[in-house]
Symmetry: C2
Subunit: 413 residues, 2 copies
C-alpha cells in the first residue's frame, strides 16, 4: 500500500501491444492497493520522426517551437495509455506537463524543473484514477511549453515521485537493471542489486547509459529511491539509493569504458599563474567541452597540460589550442584520438586503501600501458591505447570480481 | 493594413511543401503591413491515424482522452508552420488552445467556445510576430483539453477573428470558393462572389460541404465576414457576409442535392394532441436525428406523419417507429431510402413570389415526380426518386440560371 511512480520509456510504449502491457502493469500495481502515477515517453521513433519533419522546414528551428512540437509525442502516449487502461476496466486520466503545472525555467530543449503542483495529481489519485503524466515536458512561467532534454522523462518521474512523496519510483526499461559493466564487452557482468547516487552519477558521466545524470541528482536531492527494472519481467532490478554503510566494503561497484574520446597534450607551457585559465577559457570560447584535465610540473618554469574531449569536439579543440599556443609559450602539441578511458567507481575508495594499486596491477598483468591517470573521490580512470581498451576493462573486471554478486567477492567482508 | 486571420485546413498543410506555401502566404500578407493570425488544422491524415491508434487500444475510448490525443495534431502543425516562417526570415510564434485561453464548455469532442483571451495574441502581434494558433481545440475551466468537433478549425478561425477584431477572416481550402451547386453533378456551376450567412447555413445543413454550420453561426453572431478561397491561387473566393439589399433580387443563390436520406411515413395516425410529440420523443430516445417533418391531416381524426433521416439512422428509425406504432394507432408504415432531396436556397424568397412555382415547373419540365415538399423562409426542398435526383438538380439549376454570374441572370433586376 502506497504511492508508486512507474516510468515507461519510448521502447516500452512503442506499439499497441507494449502500451497494453504497460497499462496492465499499472493496473496490477493499483489492484494491490497502491495509488499509481505513470510517467511515459513518446512512442518508439516518434520523436525522431518529428525532428525530421522540423528539419525539413528549417535546418535551425527555434527551440521554443521544437519544444511545442516534440511535447506532442508524450501527450499522445499518455492519452493512449489512459484509453488502454480504461479499456481494461480501470479508471485513468492523462495529464500534460501544463496540466500538472510542472513549472520549469525558460531554457527551451533543456529546461530545469522549478516546481510541481502535486494537488491536481493527488485529487485524481484520490478519485481512484491511475494518473498518466507526460514525461519530458513542462511549462515556463509564461505557459510556453518546455522540454527537459536528454533523459527528461526519467527526471520527470523522479521529480514527480518527490512531489507526491511516492514510496517507490520504478523506471521500466528494456534491460533488467544496471550492470557492473557493459555486458557487450564483459559478458560475465552481473546486475547490481543497488548502487549509490554518487556512484551512479559517476558511471553516467562516464557514458554508462540507462539513467541520465540529472534524474539521479534529483533522486539524491529529494531522497527518492530509483528502481531501474525490466518492462518485460517482474524481477527486481537495481535500486539507486542513498549510500548505506555496507556499500563501503564493496570497494568497486562498477567499471566503465569510454571510447569516444580524444586527448590533447601541450608540453612545456610556461608555469605562470593564470596560464591554465587562459587555455581553458580559450577552449570554452570555442565551445569545446573538456572532460578530464591533467597538469604536471616538469620544472620550476614549465608544465605539461593535457585534457580529454569527446571526439566530436576534437577538431575544434585542436584549432583552439593552436590559437593559444604562443600566448602560453607552449613547446609542442600532441593530439591523439586512439585512446580509451577505463574507470572503476565505488564509494569504498573513500575509506579503503589499495584500490588504485589493484587497478594498476590488473592493467600491468594484462600488459596494458597506462597513458595517464585521473581520479575523483570515488573513481579511478586510466587512459590506455584504444586497441587495448577492452582487454583492460576485462582485466579490471576480473580483478574486482565484477562477474560475481557482491556477497561472493573474495575481497568483500 | 489591418488584422487578417488566415485558416489553413488539413489538405493545405499536408506536407512540407504545402506548409511552406502557407507560410509564404502569411509572410506576404504580413509584408503588406498587416498583422497576421494563422489558424491551422492537423496535417492531412494525421487525425485519422491517431483515431486508428486509439481504437486499436479501446473500441470506445473516453472522450476526454480522445481530445487530449487529437489536439496534438494541430499542435504539431502550428509549431511546424512557425518553424517554416522562421526559416523564411520572419518572426512567428505558435500557440495552443490552452495558450490563447480558448475557453470552452466541457463537452469533449464537440465543445462550444465560451471565451477567448485576445491579450496574448495581441501582445505577440504587436511584437512583430505572425501568430499561429492551433485550430479545433480549447480548454475547459479545469484545463482539460477539448475539441470543437467537425469543422472546428473554421470555428476557431472565425471566433479568433471576432476576438482580435480582424479586418478579414480568410478560409483557405482546396476549392476556390463556394459554388452555386455541386459541380460534379452540374459542371456549369459558377463560383458565388458572396452569400449571406443564412443562405450558407441552409446550404451547409443540406450537405453542401466547404464550411461547417457552427462557424457560420459564429460569423453571423460576431459580424465576421468569412472569405472562402483557394490555397493554390490569389483569386478572390466567396464572401460569406451579412445580407445586403441586392441579395434579395437574386431569388436563388444556390441549389443542393442530398442523397444520403431515407424517408419514413406513418399513415392514419390518430390526430390527437400530443401524438406527434410521442413519436418524435420516441425517436429522440432511440438517438435518431430527424431532418424534415411533414404532417398532413387526412380527416378530422387521422393524420399522416412523414419524416426524413440520414441513411445511417434508417435502421434505428424503422425499429423505433415499429415500437410506437400501436401507441399512436398508426395504420401503416412506409419506408424508402431510394430518395434524393433537391433544394434551392435564397434570401430573395422572402420578398419575391413565384420561386416555388419556378422550381415545380422546372421539375415538371424534366418529368420528375415530386414525392413531398418542405420549405423554410429561404429554402424550398423537394423529395424525388433517387434515380431522378441529378436530373432534377440540373433542371432546377438551369431554371434559376445557376450557370451564370448573378449579374447575367435574366430574372435578376
Amino acid at each position: 500500500m502506497g504511492v508508486i511512480v512507474q516510468k515507461f520509456g519510448g521502447t516500452s510504449v512503442a506499439n499497441a501491444e507494449k502500451i497494453k502491457r504497460a497499462a496492465q502493469r499499472a493496473i496490477d500495481t493499483a489492484e494491490k492497493g497502491n495509488q499509481v502515477v505513470v510517467v511515459a515517453s513518446a512512442r518508439g521513433k516518434q520523436t525522431d520522426t518529428l525532428i525530421a519533419d522540423a528539419l525539413e522546414l528549417n535546418p535551425n528551428p527555434p527551440k521554443r517551437e521544437m519544444d511545442q512540437l516534440l511535447s506532442t509525442g508524450e501527450q499522445q502516449t499518455v492519452s493512449l495509455l489512459a484509453m488502454a487502461i480504461d479499456g481494461m476496466g480501470y479508471k485513468a486520466i492523462s495529464m500534460t506537463g501544463a496540466q500538472i503545472k510542472m513549472i520549469t525555467d525558460s531554457v527551451h530543449t533543456k529546461a530545469r524543473i522549478k516546481s510541481i503542483d502535486a494537488k491536481a495529481i493527488k485529487k485524481h489519485l484520490d478519485a481512484g484514477n491511475i494518473v498518466i503524466v507526460a514525461g519530458f515536458q513542462g511549462i515556463d512561467e509564461n505557459e510556453n511549453i518546455t522540454t527537459l532534454g536528454r533523459g527528461g522523462s526519467d527526471t520527470s518521474a523522479v521529480a514527480l515521485a518527490a512531489a507526491v512523496k511516492a514510496d517507490a519510483c520504478e523506471i521500466y526499461t528494456d534491460v533488467d537493471g544496471i550492470y557492473t559493466t557493459d555486458p557487450r564487452i564483459f559478458p560475465e557482468a552481473v546486475k547490481m542489486d543497488q548502487i549509490s547516487y554518487d556512484e551512479m552519477l559517476e558511471m553516467a558521466s562516464l557514458g554508462a547509459g540507462v539513467m541520465h545524470g540529472r534524474s539521479i541528482e534529483f533522486g539524491k536531492k529529494y531522497d527518492v529511491t530509483i528502481h531501474v527494472r525490466s518492462s518485460m519481467s517482474d524481477k527486481k532490478g537495481t535500486l539507486i539509493t542513498h549510500e548505506v554503510p555496507q556499500m563501503e566494503g564493496i570497494l568497486v561497484s562498477g567499471a566503465t569504458i569510454e571510447k569516444n574520446l580524444a586527448k590533447i597534450s601541450m608540453t612545456g607551457v610556461d608555469n605562470h599563474p593564470g596560464n591554465a585559465a587562459k587555455i581553458f577559457a580559450h577552449l570554452a570560447q570555442a565551445k569545446v567541452s573538456v572532460n578530464d584535465i591533467i597538469q604536471t610540473e616538469v620544472s620550476s618554469e614549465k608544465a605539461n597540460v593535457s585534457f580529454t574531449v569527446s571526439k566530436s569536439d576534437f577538431n575544434d579543440a585542436k584549432k583552439a589550442v593552436e590559437g593559444i599556443k604562443e600566448t602560453v609559450n607552449c613547446d609542442e602539441i600532441f593530439c591523439r584520438d586512439d585512446i580509451a578511458e577505463v574507470s572503476v567507481v565505488g564509494v569504498g575508495m573513500r575509506t579503503h586503501y589499495g584500490v588504485a594499486n589493484m587497478m594498476f596491477t590488473a592493467l600491468a598483468n594484462a600488459k596494458v600501458n597506462i597513458d595517464s591517470i585521473t581520479t575523483s573521490e570515488i573513481r579511478i580512470s586510466c587512459i590506455v591505447d584504444k586497441d587495448q581498451g577492452d582487454l583492460a576493462l576485462k582485466s579490471v573486471c576480473k580483478t574486482f570480481e565484477l562477474d560475481k554478486p557482491v556477497e561472493k567477492r573474495s575481497y568483500v567482508k
